[in-house]
C-alpha cells in the first residue's frame, strides 16, 4: 500500500452564507512536502488553511489528514454528518497552526504558554512539560525568554514562541497563515529561518505567505489561488519563472513592482 497523503483536499467548497469563497479546491500534500500558497487578498488562502484544521466548517467536498476525514463522517446512506468536537480534535492532533497574530495567551509566561497545552491535552506532568517546553523554546532561540510575558517580547519573538508552542505538541504537519505579515521588516528573517529549519527537518508544511523569495527557496510546490480556485500550481522554478495564466503573470508583475519601489525608496 502506498503511503497516504499528509493532506488530501477534494473538491473543497466554502460558503459564508451566499458568499462562495472556495469553489472546488483539489490539493494533495505528501508527507515531508513543503507547499506555499500565494494569491491576492481575499482569494481564500486563509479560509483554505482554516478548513484543514476545521476552524472553518467547509460546506462541500472533503479534507483528509493522514487518511482521516476531518470534521464530517458519513452515515450508512452516505449522508455526511458533523462529528463531535472531541473526535475532530483527536483527528487533528497531528496538525498545528501558526497564526498571523501569534495568538499567544498574554496572561501566561512564555514557558506556561508552551507547557500548558502539553499538560492539558496530553496530560504530561508539570516537571516534564516544563522540560519539553524549554527544549522547544531553545530550538527556536527563545530559551532565554521563558520567564517573560508575551507582551514583553517583540513580534518576531512572539511568533517564535508560538511556533515552539505548536512544536511541543509534536505535530507532523504545520500550517502557517502569513506568519510574518504582522512583523516589522527587520524581524521577518528570524521567523523565516525557524520555518526553514522545520522544512529541512522534513516536516510537512503548508505556508500562506507574501514572501515570494522565501516561498521560492523552501517550497517543493507553490499554489496560486485566485477567487477561490487554484489558478496554477507547480514547482517554484516553473511557477515563478514561466507563469502560464494571465492572472499569475499579473500578480507577479505587480509584486515585482512593489518590491522595486521598495528597494528604490
Amino acid at each position: 500500500m502506498s503511503q497516504p497523503y499528509a493532506i488530501e483536499i477534494r473538491n473543497l467548497h466554502k460558503h459564508y452564507g451566499a458568499h462562495h469563497v472556495l469553489k472546488g479546491i483539489d490539493l494533495d500534500i505528501r508527507p515531508g512536502e513543503v507547499v506555499s500558497i500565494i494569491g491576492g487578498s481575499g482569494s481564500g488562502k486563509s479560509t483554505l488553511l482554516r478548513c484543514v484544521n476545521f476552524l472553518e466548517e467547509y460546506t462541500g467536498g472533503e479534507v483528509l489528514v493522514n487518511g482521516r476525514m476531518i470534521g464530517y463522517g458519513s452515515s450508512v446512506t452516505g449522508e455526511p454528518y458533523r462529528l463531535p468536537e472531541q473526535t475532530i480534535r483527536e483527528s487533528l492532533t497531528d496538525v498545528c497552526m501558526v497564526f498571523q497574530q501569534f495568538n499567544l495567551w498574554p496572561h501566561m509566561r512564555v514557558l506556561d504558554n508552551v507547557a500548558a497545552p502539553l499538560r492539558l491535552v496530553k496530560g504530561v506532568r508539570k516537571a516534564e512539560a516544563y522540560e519539553r517546553a524549554q527544549a522547544q523554546l531553545e530550538r527556536v532561540g527563545m530559551g532565554h525568554k521563558a520567564a517573560s510575558y508575551p507582551g514583553q517580547l517583540s513580534g518576531g519573538q512572539q511568533q517564535r514562541v508560538a511556533i515552539a508552542r505548536a512544536l511541543t505538541m509534536q505535530p507532523s504537519i504545520m500550517l502557517f497563515d502569513e506568519p510574518t505579515s504582522a512583523l516589522d521588516p527587520e524581524l521577518v528573517g528570524e521567523v523565516l529561518n525557524v520555518i526553514r529549519d522545520l522544512a529541512d527537518a522534513g516536516m510537512t508544511l503548508a505556508i500562506v505567505t507574501h514572501e515570494m523569495g522565501f516561498a521560492a527557496r523552501v517550497s517543493d510546490k507553490v499554489v496560486f489561488l485566485a477567487e477561490g480556485r487554484i489558478e496554477e500550481q507547480g514547482a517554484p522554478r516553473d511557477l515563478f519563472n514561466t507563469p502560464q495564466s494571465a492572472r499569475l503573470q499579473q500578480f507577479l508583475t505587480s509584486w515585482n513592482e512593489r518590491q522595486g519601489s521598495l528597494t528604490m525608496a
Binding site: V95, Q101, W105, H107, P117, G151, A162, A166, M169
Partner: protein, 219 residues
C-alpha cells in the same frame, strides 16, 4: 450641635443595622455574581432560545427599579403562594437585579479577548472547558474586576431600598431613629458615614485583587 448621646443610646440598633446591610449585600451580591456568571454561560452556549432569553432577562432587570421589583415580589408574591420573609425577598431581589449587571460585565470582559486566542487553544487541542478555565477566565477576571467592584459598591448602596420592604438594615434603622427622636441630622450623618466606610472597604479589597490579577499587564 451634633447630639452624640442620641447615637450612643441607639448604638445597638445601629450596629445591628450595619450588620444586616453587610449580610444582605454580601449574600445578595455573592448570589448575584454566581447567577450572573451562569447567565453569561447560558448566553455563550448560544442558540435560538438562550440568547434572546438572556437579553430579555437583562432588559427586564436593568430596565425596572429595584424598588419596584422588590414590591412586586414582596406584596405580589403572596397572591401566587410566595410568602417570603422581607429578608429573603431582599436577598433574592438584590441577587436577581445584580446578576443582570454582572452578566453584562462578564460579557464585555469576554468580548474584549481576541478571538484568535480561542482559535489557537482549539487548534492545540484544548477542550472548550479547558479554554474557558485556562485562557478566558483569568483574563476576564482581570478585565472585569474594576467594573465588578464598581457595581458591588452601587449594589451595597442600593440595598438601602430594602428598608422600604421592612428589612431592618441600616437605612431602615436610621429612619426609625429619626422619626422616633425627631432628629434628622445625626441618624442620616451616621448612615452616610457607614455606607461610605463599607464602600471604602469594598474598593480597597477590589484594588488589591486587581493588582494581583493584572500583574501580567505590567511591563
Amino acid at each position: 450641635m451634633i447630639d452624640f448621646n442620641l447615637l450612643a443610646e441607639h448604638r445597638e440598633a445601629i450596629l445591628a443595622g450595619v450588620w444586616m446591610t453587610v449580610k444582605m449585600s454580601a449574600g445578595g451580591i455573592s448570589l448575584g455574581l454566581l447567577l450572573g456568571l451562569a447567565l453569561h454561560g447560558l448566553r455563550q452556549l448560544g442558540g435560538p432560545w438562550l440568547v434572546p432569553l438572556y437579553h430579555a432577562y437583562v432588559a427586564l432587570f436593568r430596565g425596572t427599579p429595584l424598588l419596584v421589583q422588590l414590591f412586586l415580589v414582596f406584596y405580589g408574591g403572596p397572591y401566587i403562594g410566595l410568602e417570603w420573609s422581607a429578608e429573603r425577598v431582599g436577598l433574592v431581589g438584590l441577587a436577581l437585579y445584580g446578576a443582570a449587571y454582572f452578566a453584562e460585565i462578564f460579557r464585555a470582559g469576554r468580548e474584549a479577548i481576541p478571538r484568535g486566542q480561542i482559535e489557537s487553544a482549539r487548534d492545540l487541542g484544548l477542550s472548550p472547558g479547558q479554554t474557558f478555565r485556562v485562557v478566558l477566565w483569568p483574563q476576564m477576571l482581570a478585565r472585569c474586576l474594576a467594573p465588578l467592584v464598581g457595581q458591588t459598591v452601587i449594589l451595597v448602596k442600593e440595598s438601602s431600598v430594602l428598608s422600604i420592604i421592612t428589612v431592618a438594615e441600616l437605612t431602615n434603622v436610621a429612619m426609625t431613629i429619626a422619626t422616633q427622636s425627631y432628629s434628622m441630622l445625626e441618624p442620616y450623618a451616621v448612615l452616610a458615614l457607614a455606607y461610605w466606610a463599607i464602600a471604602i472597604v469594598v474598593a480597597a479589597t477590589g484594588a488589591r485583587l486587581e493588582r494581583h490579577f493584572t500583574q501580567y499587564q505590567c511591563r
